[in-house]
């Protein structure tokens, strides 16, 4: 009885988890520009992997595996936002975006000001590469 119940829950988790991957695929194809597509690549996948790992944990029911499952998910939680940030930043800086899909762009003014300042400061030996990574 309990086994069937757990099987049903695990099965549901697996199907929904796979649907999340499908959502990522559809989003990759249908969203208008790079910056929107990044959303499809990060959010559903984190939930999808969580559900699949949870299903695995429910089916195996072993305490030894649990820390690895948690570790796998935590790693995903830590890495997904960082890679989204890096790709998004590169995309914004190289202007891989469609202006008409943006309702507001509060960063544009800041970037413009920074670029003007940079032009002003050109010639100074400023370790440009390191600072732009940190700021």
């Amino acid at each position: 009885m309990l086994d069937t119940l757990i099987d049903i829950v695990a099965g549901t988790f697996m199907i929904v988890g796979c649907l999340m991957s499908l959502a990522a695929g559809i989003g990759m194809l249908r969203f208008p520009d790079l910056l929107s597509r990044l959303h499809a690549a990060t959010k559903p996948q984190v939930l999808g992997l969580f559900l699949l790992l949870a299903a695995l944990g429910l089916e195996l029911r072993s305490w030894a595996v649990l820390p690895v499952l948690v570790l796998a998910w935590l790693l995903q939680l830590l890495t997904a936002p960082v890679s989204a940030h890096m790709v998004g930043r590169a995309g914004y800086r190289t202007r891989h975006l469609k202006r008409e899909t943006l309702v507001a762009d509060e960063l544009a003014a800041v970037v413009e000001a920074a670029e003007q300042r940079e032009e002003h400061e050109i010639g100074r030996d400023r370790p440009r590469d390191r600072t732009d990574f940190i700021d």
Binding site: H39, K43, L77, V82, V103
Partner: protein, 204 residues
């Protein structure tokens, strides 16, 4: 350690970097030790000690600037936070799914500015991580000096949507400060709650 020193350390311009002390590294070492145990699926004492030795070696060889913990951690708030986080991740994922299927190419978004209350690098990073996973946003740029995040937010149709997104980011920050912010940040937060006239987060 002062804020200026931390910024200078990260930029590595002064040539003299502030090293973290062994005491500041304890959480990192314990975390690495547990990861080692989890990977081997073996939490026996011998294995953990070996993991600790390897972590010590790694931390010595690949030096990192220190992370400053606030020294305050509210476990109950953490449980509430994790619960809210799981709920929000589910909701955000289904929202993205809905948008991908039904709105598709007509989805509009916005790049907004949010100035956080906190000054700590750790909290800014944490807020950035959480808000990438929870509401429909991720961080495009960070201004570390003023703790300002520039976010890309999905599914924003008008100015009201922009304000809503800003409010939700500040709510995440509030939850995190209540969980692990410093006592001063918490006091400032409480003062702000009792006196709601002060506006936060709007770009200056």
């Amino acid at each position: 350690m002062s804020r200026e020193q931390r910024l200078a350390d990260a930029k590595d311009e002064s040539g003299q970097r502030q090293r973290s002390t062994l005491r500041q590294e304890i959480p990192l070492l314990v975390g690495m030790m547990l990861v080692w145990g989890a990977l081997w699926q073996d939490f026996a004492i011998g294995n953990l000690v070996f993991g600790l030795l390897i972590s010590l070696l790694l931390v010595r060889v690949f030096r990192l600037p220190p992370i400053i913990l606030s020294g305050r951690f509210n476990i109950w708030r953490a449980v509430v936070f994790i619960g809210a986080f799981l709920r929000d991740v589910t909701r955000a994922s289904f929202e993205v799914m809905y948008l991908a299927v039904f709105r598709g190419p007509r989805t509009t978004s916005a790049v907004i500015t949010v100035t956080l209350r906190t000054e700590s690098d750790l909290l800014v990073t944490f807020v950035g991580h959480v808000l990438t996973l929870v509401p429909g946003s991720y961080v495009v740029e960070v201004d570390r000096r003023s703790s300002t995040l520039y976010l890309h937010v999905l599914n924003v149709n008008d100015q009201a949507g922009v304000e809503k997104a800003r409010a939700s980011v500040l709510l995440i920050e509030e939850r995190l400060i209540r969980m692990m912010g410093t006592a001063e940040e918490l006091a400032a937060l409480n003062a702000e709650k009792t006196e709601p006239s002060k506006e936060h987060g709007a770009p200056s």
